[in-house]
């Protein structure tokens, strides 16, 4: 399925957010996920199904002032 993750167009096998994070080797406890501008709570990662063409943002904290 083709989706956009953090600005990159990708073809992914994952069907849910949890699967997508696993596929990208990202620790779900350290990130916040937004799909089409809607924040998806961590307890929905397992159930939330991603769709073709979704724009997904995966963010975390970095150094800043």
């Amino acid at each position: 399925m083709k989706v956009r993750v953090n600005g990159n167009y990708m073809d992914v096998k994952a069907k849910t957010i949890a699967e997508l994070l696993r596929e990208l080797d990202i620790n779900p406890n350290r990130v916040v996920v937004e799909v089409n501008l809607e924040i998806i709570k961590r307890d929905r990662f397992n159930d939330y199904e991603i769709k073709e063409g979704d724009s997904i943002e995966i963010v975390n904290f970095v150094g800043g002032g």
Partner: protein, 257 residues
Amino acid sequence: MNDPLIIRGIEFKSRLWVGTGKYKSFEETARAIEASGTDVVTVAVRRVNIIDRSKENLLDYIDPKKYKILPNTAGCYTVEEALRYARLAREAGVSDMIKLEVIGDEKTLFPDVCGLLKATEILAKEGFIVFPYTNDDPVTAKRLVDAGAAAVMPLGAPIGSGLGIRNPYNIKIILESVNVPVIVDAGVGTASDVSIAMELGCDAVLVNTAIACAKDPIMMAEALKHACIAGRLAYKAGRIPKKLYASASSPIEGMLT
């Protein structure tokens, strides 16, 4: 020194607040923060690097159980952007605090105070503890408090400039104008700048570049820790008034005739 700053029920043991940007490594960040004696650090919200997955996470080095995490909305130029970043930051689940930045100009990184007021009002209503990064303008500071700011963070000088407290008189007027803590944010270049802010009566000072870009960040962090304590003590001790003429420290009585 036991002299905590309490904001909305949150106790800050240190009055030196430290940013985590511009360090050479997470390891150096952690050491500088430790040396500064702070218990609150600012962080930014950014995309996870999905290309280089080996990248470590900042929170592996800064324990949110040990340090209060104050996320910022740095890099946001519109109200909508700032709201989006603030909400993402809160979703991380470590803090309801937000250091709100709505930037108005790329060159100076001065705040867009109209946008800042609007965003402060919205986020305060959503239950955020809002720390707006603002100009050293007393009227704006008052408006921000009316909009629900938990504290105000006037700049001493442009972010990363190291120019120090350029308008101490305005900072003093802000201190007299608002009934919330005043935290100088941005502009500090070295230890004396921190002391000046604290001697004015500011409740805390936030520093990033002055530590991170010093030749020896760990040593500078320690210097600023002492400067902050010195300035705070001097403020509480009450300085002498400035006078134009001398007054002798040694007695006249007992002089040989």
